[in-house]
Symmetry: C2
């Protein structure tokens, strides 16, 4: 039987962070502001505007504090940033972000290669962030995002038990929210259903978000599987920008517009106006000449059955 | 909870028919034979090799009788053809096809435009095919395929009740099998789950196949939804060839290799060797220069977790 799906879902736009960080072009701050404004205008109400890492490492995201300040002027916009460590968290708290996302890789090999820390060292850092947040009096939420939760290009298999141990450890360390990410496009709908359901048993409503890459075309099927176990918040990137350094030509995060379309087709309310979102995607393609945008909806257009409804 | 999925599924390769019919290039018969042989070698056991329509209308498929004869020499290969009318069915019976698929469009507007018949006139034609089949003594199965089952570019909405009425009418007219097709990429996972489940209540095990186009990127999500209601046979087209004349650049049927990958990732046995299938796709791209092939797996490659398993 058709499953009961959540009546509403939230799409968190991560193109400004996950997308732009893997694109060499540095998008000017004004353009990022225009992107944020147009996404807001299209009904997007959660945006990950950037990352507080050392600007030398990611010059593309060096303007994150300015973007947080701008995004916070838009009424009702929930503003997230990614932070890799305590120092980044302190900058996020000072900037006034609504949520700081701390990436943790369940693959030990990936964690050491990317973050130069073991997963448990990241957990320990989250505890320090929580202490800093509490001391600051800020209302900023802390989200621990468990990446490579479905496998890893370096290590191969990642044990679900280890993923769930880290979910529990993050909560114990003081994370307000946890999420699971298929960083490299290894998840399938069945593994998504199983792992998210187990994670929900541990985290309850603190299980916050699902982050799927469309590397092998399964992102929307994975979203559908996650919806069926009650997940109602998804990261997505306009035009599917981001890619995967290990798979040339492969797409990155699920495309925001395709995800918004699928949810709309299933009468799941996201608050997003698809026509405005597609117009923004068209602007984005002119802002990123030479970059391949992904996603099927922009090529095919809205179907007659839905175009009248939005 | 993760749903119980079928342990096995069949992929019916329809690239030689649904794919090639919308490509202007006429593929030489020898090459089609090589495609059939290589697909068989990769483990594909059902192939729609062509269509018995007037050669003047579709010169690309004029060699269908030769291909049926060749395909029948491969042990265990189940050979399907598409036929639009009684005359085509008689040719299919004479050629010795295992199954003849009769397309019917649930959208009256689409039916009149494409087949120059109302849906009920197609049902009446199926009754004549059944009589011809029975009189011939052939074991060829007759499948009624209800297209535009989820909406239509011409007519917009197609009522599920009308789709189900036609399913029942096809069975009453003597169709051995029925299937549902999202001809134009309007289906979503929830509508798939609902409609296929209702169709199963009418047709039981005679509900044979699901045919999804990936026009808006939802084909694999739709497959997952259909699997959950017990559907275990899917049409697919190597490299997603076919396209949609109403949506330039849009892909056609779900790509065989992406579908086979998703099923393999969920431990659903298709008998298909993904490495061999990807090698065939590479040959196909050289056979169709200038045609865009679709699908994510070919760009990204097999994941480490699965590459070792196949």
């Amino acid at each position: 039987m058709a499953c009961q799906l959540p009546p509403r879902a939230v799409i968190r736009e991560v193109g400004l962070r996950d997308g732009l960080q893997s694109i060499a072009t540095v998008m000017p701050t004004d353009r990022k502001r225009a992107w944020i404004a147009a996404a807001f205008d299209a009904g997007v109400r959660e945006i990950e505007v950037g990352s507080f890492v050392r600007p030398r490492l990611l010059p593309q995201l060096a303007d994150t504090a300015e973007l947080v300040a701008y995004a916070k002027t838009l009424p009702g916009l929930f503003v997230s940033v990614l932070v890799p460590n305590l120092k980044g968290a302190q900058r996020a708290l000072a900037a006034g972000a609504d949520l700081l996302l701390v990436p943790l890789s369940a693959s030990r090999a990936h964690s050491l290669a990317n973050l130069r820390k073991t997963p448990d060292e990241v957990v320990a850092e989250v505890a320090r962030m929580r202490a800093a947040r509490d001391a600051s009096g800020a209302k900023t939420l802390i989200e621990g995002g468990v990446g490579t939760a479905f496998g890893c290009t370096l290590q191969g298999r990642v044990e679900p038990d280890e993923v769930l141990r880290l979910v529990q450890a993050l909560l114990d360390a003081g994370a307000d929210r946890v999420s699971l990410a298929d960083t490299v496009g290894f998840a399938d709908p069945q593994s998504v259903a199983t792992l998210f359901e187990r994670a929900r048993r541990i985290a309850g409503d603190r299980l916050w978000c699902a982050h799927f890459h469309d590397t092998r075309g399964l992102a929307l099927a994975n979203v559908y599987a996650a919806l069926q176990v009650g997940i109602a918040r998804f990261d997505a990137s306009l035009g599917g920008i981001g890619g995967c350094p290990h798979a040339p030509g492969a797409s990155g995060n699920v495309a925001t517009e395709d995800l918004a379309f699928m949810l709309a087709a299933m009468d799941i309310d996201t608050g997003i106006d698809l026509t405005r979102l597609l117009a923004l995607r068209k602007r984005l393609s002119t802002w990123l000449p030479g970059e391949t945008l992904h996603g099927a909806l922009a090529r095919a257009g809205l179907p007659a059955t839905l175009a009248t409804a939005v």
